[in-house]
């Protein structure tokens, strides 16, 4: 470390030098400890003949996985099986984060409602979910709810048709017919035109200072243009893929398995309770005077919420919200208990199948770490952006 010039005395009294030295000493200590641990692990593993290589990644996995986004069968490699697990974790985490945020925000607002009943319902929900372990909730959802649905033969048929049974939710899905391209084009055109109309008319409203009905016009474009495309494509651009009960299970359509369903519902209901508290505290952190000031300049209650309260509350909400997102992602490893084929579940099977416990646990840890770091990186960028806008 270069000597830092200081008028007041010797360099070892310089606070900046001391700080840097402390940093270096702690870094060296930490690195030494890590190196020691790793070397020890390697040596111990070698003494016991435990293989630490990653060569098994290219061997066939030979075990089944219950659900997969990519086409998987047991002849695929261990590496591919792991990827399937990662994607399943991402699937439940991403959908879970979105739904938990929506539910959590609604609950957080309900908690602040002046309506006694709404307020109390939210309170009971939050306290109930915050104080029951997630694993218990998952077992409850899976074994007491999803598994107790009727058998496929006696499925509950909802309009769509949507079939709800022990084997999951089968939804009628739609594929594009050959003539459907015209409709698809019209749909895209409609969206683009609607956005253009929104932006242009809104700017015009600001310039002219009178209403231009930008929302209504955009909506009309959004509906009308695709409708024209529908007619032009011959009236039926989509082919429906209706699930049909064949043998033991339904075939066709879009399927949500009970394991995924229980996992998603469990994670969302649990995390939403925490997010609700984050939202509530964030909103309460906004000074009352702000609301009163907004009201006095004549803003409506919705405008106060969206223009005054939320932008300021977001600054308080975002950091703890990031932790909740990370918690949700990591908690998805509890899937192993209810048979959802997430990263941890697949990893455990891989360990048993290949006998490579240390490398696979390393892969599992690295993957969770990577997911968490990417999530917090993105949200921290967002956090910085809203901070700057406010200043």
């Amino acid at each position: 470390m270069a000597r830092v010039s200081s008028a007041t005395g010797a360099f070892w009294r310089d606070e900046r030098v001391l700080r840097a030295a402390a940093q270096i000493v702690s870094a060296v200590l930490v690195l030494a400890a890590i190196a020691w641990t790793v070397l020890n692990l390697l040596e111990a593993a070698e003494r016991r003949g435990i293989a630490l290589s990653f060569g098994f990644i290219n061997l066939p996995a030979e075990f089944p996985i219950s659900e997969s986004i990519l086409p998987y069968d047991p002849s695929k490699t261990f590496g591919f099986a792991f990827l399937v697990g990662v994607l399943n974790t991402l699937k439940v985490a991403v959908i879970g984060v979105v739904l938990a945020t929506i539910l959590g925000t609604i609950l957080g607002l309900a908690r602040l409602s002046s309506n006694w009943l709404v307020n109390r319902i939210a309170l009971v929900y939050i306290e109930l979910h915050r104080n029951i372990p997630l694993l218990v909730l998952l077992f409850l959802w899976y074994f007491a709810v999803f598994n107790k649905l009727p058998s496929p033969k006696d499925s509950v048929v909802l309009p769509g048709p949507i079939f709800l049974s022990q084997r999951g939710l089968y939804i009628t899905s739609a594929r594009l017919a050959p003539s459907g391209l015209i409709f698809l084009f019209a749909l895209g055109l409609g969206v683009v035109l609607a956005i253009v109309a929104w932006v242009v008319l809104r700017r015009k409203r600001e310039q002219l200072g009178r209403p231009t009905y930008y929302a209504g016009v955009s909506l009309a474009i959004l509906l009308l243009v695709p409708a024209l495309g529908w007619v032009a494509s011959g009236g039926n651009p989509l082919v429906l893929d209706v699930p049909v009960l064949e043998g033991f299970n339904f075939k066709g359509g879009l399927r949500l398995t009970p394991e995924f369903g229980a996992m998603l519902v469990g994670l969302v209901t649990y995390t939403a309770a925490f997010i609700a508290e984050v939202v509530r505290s964030g909103i309460q952190a906004v000074d009352r005077g702000q609301v009163e000031a907004a009201r006095s300049v004549g803003l409506g209650s919705m405008q106060i919420l969206t223009l005054v309260i939320l932008p300021q509350a977001m600054r308080v909400i975002t950091p703890p919200l990031i932790s909740q997102y990370l918690n949700l992602t990591k908690n998805s490893s509890l899937a192993v208990a209810i048979g959802y084929a997430d990263l941890f579940n697949v990893g455990r099977t891989m360990i048993n199948q290949s006998g490579r416990a240390v490398p696979i646990f390393g892969m599992i840890m690295a993957t969770y770490l990577l997911m968490s770091l990417i999530t917090s990186l993105i949200l921290n960028l967002y956090n910085r952006r809203i901070l700057r806008v406010e200043r």
């Binding site: 020691w36 111990a44 022990q166 043998g247 208990a337 099977t349």
Partner: protein, 370 residues
């Protein structure tokens, strides 16, 4: 904020360890604390010796009890009785080894583990013996430890509801199958369906209780496991007659106790005890008559019980009456089997089949005491 995050991102990725690295100045104390924890973990790892010849027996004797990896959730093999005592065939085999070493079948500690923990717990030498329905396979023998001798010949089968209309494997196309993960079972299932070109949905759970919970709830049309296990589960069902175990056996499952790699003496001891139990059945030595049999005029019986000559017991570090003590603790092989799975078995009834003595048409056979 972002710069710090990026720094953390890069730092943590490289080190694969959280915290510490980018702690702000002045938090040296905290960092030092982390270092101490690492050192503590270090010493603990060093304390588990890699087993060499004779080390496991010495370790067991010094400890005063035998540690077996077992289970508490499978009727017949390892489960809890009404008083909460861990009993079952696997547990009795563990008691037999403890009896041979200490003359006391109670000097055991059972570590209940899940299927997926079996390999790692043996590789790290945390237990002395793994007796938990382990199928002996080539890859497990190479990776996990040494397998001793088969104590139960099993095979995988399918169980379905009687009213499901499934009569053979041919009827299973498109079925949902509940299965335990991290076992050879899931792999056999995959092999069988893949070979037939059938579609299926494997619903995989970590915990055996969850597998059958889901099957009984109707989540799956079929469940599959070793036939002995299916018999146990069926016996415990609300209405056993509502379920049927299909005839075909789709795999070989030789259930075998295993010991850590590296200690040949320990491998020999466990084998000696297992063979001793089989020889005892062959010679008619039982838990009840073992005391009288020590005065028997039958030469093979006197040899087995250590009354005449020395046939390798003391070479392995055991006493001459080691096998007599093992039999005193739990009885012979046939007695153990019958206790849990015989015609009046306390768990369920399963014909011995392949697990009969070789002289009765089965596969149970032991080298002679000579």
């Amino acid at each position: 904020m972002t710069r710090k995050t990026t720094l953390m991102f890069a730092g943590l990725l490289a080190l694969a360890l959280t915290l510490g690295a980018c702690a702000p100045t002045g938090e040296t104390v905290e960092v030092t604390r982390i270092v101490e924890v690492e050192v503590a973990g270090e010493t603990m790892v060093e304390q588990i010796p890699a087993p060499g010849y004779g080390e496991i027996l010495a370790r067991v004797q010094a400890r005063g009890r035998l540690i077996c990896a077992g289970r508490t959730d499978l009727l017949g093999f390892g489960y809890l009785d009404d008083d909460g005592r861990n009993i079952g065939m696997d547990i009795d085999l563990c008691r037999a080894i403890a009896g041979a070493i200490f003359g006391d079948g109670e000097a055991i500690e059972i570590v209940a583990i899940s299927a997926a923990e079996r390999g790692p717990i043996l590789q790290t030498g945390e237990v002395d013996v793994l007796i938990r329905n382990v199928t002996w396979t080539s890859s497990r023998e190479a990776q996990w430890g040494n397998f001793t001798t088969v104590t139960f010949y099993d095979g995988q089968g399918y169980m379905v509801r009687t009213d499901s209309g499934i009569e053979s494997q041919e009827d299973m196309d498109g079925a949902s199958v509940c299965v335990t993960g991290g076992t050879t079972t899931a792999q056999n299932l995959a092999d069988d369906f893949r070979q037939r070109g059938f579609e299926y949905e494997a619903v995989i759970f970590e915990d055996t209780a969850s597998v059958y919970g889901a099957y009984f709830d109707g989540r799956c049309d079929v469940t599959t496991s070793d036939k002995s296990q299916l018999a146990a589960i069926r016996a415990g069902a609300d209405d056993p007659d509502a379920h049927i175990i299909l005839e075909p056996t789709i795999s070989k499952e030789p259930l075998t106790p295993a010991v850590p790699h590296g200690d040949d003496q320990w491998l020999d001891i466990v084998k000696l005890v297992m063979y001793g139990l089989v020889n005892a059945e062959e010679l008619g030595v039982t838990q009840a008559n073992v005391g009288d049999m020590m005065a028997s005029d039958q030469i093979p019986v006197r040899r087995l019980l250590g009354e005449e000559g020395e046939w390798g017991y003391t070479d392995l570090g055991l006493s001459a009456d080691a096998l007599a003590n093992a039999i005193k603790a739990v009885g012979n092989y046939g007695e153990i089997y019958d206790r849990y799975m015989g015609p009046n078995g306390i768990a369920f009834t399963l014909p011995r089949g392949l697990n009969e003595l070789w002289s009765n048409g089965g596969l149970i056979y032991a080298p002679p005491v000579k």
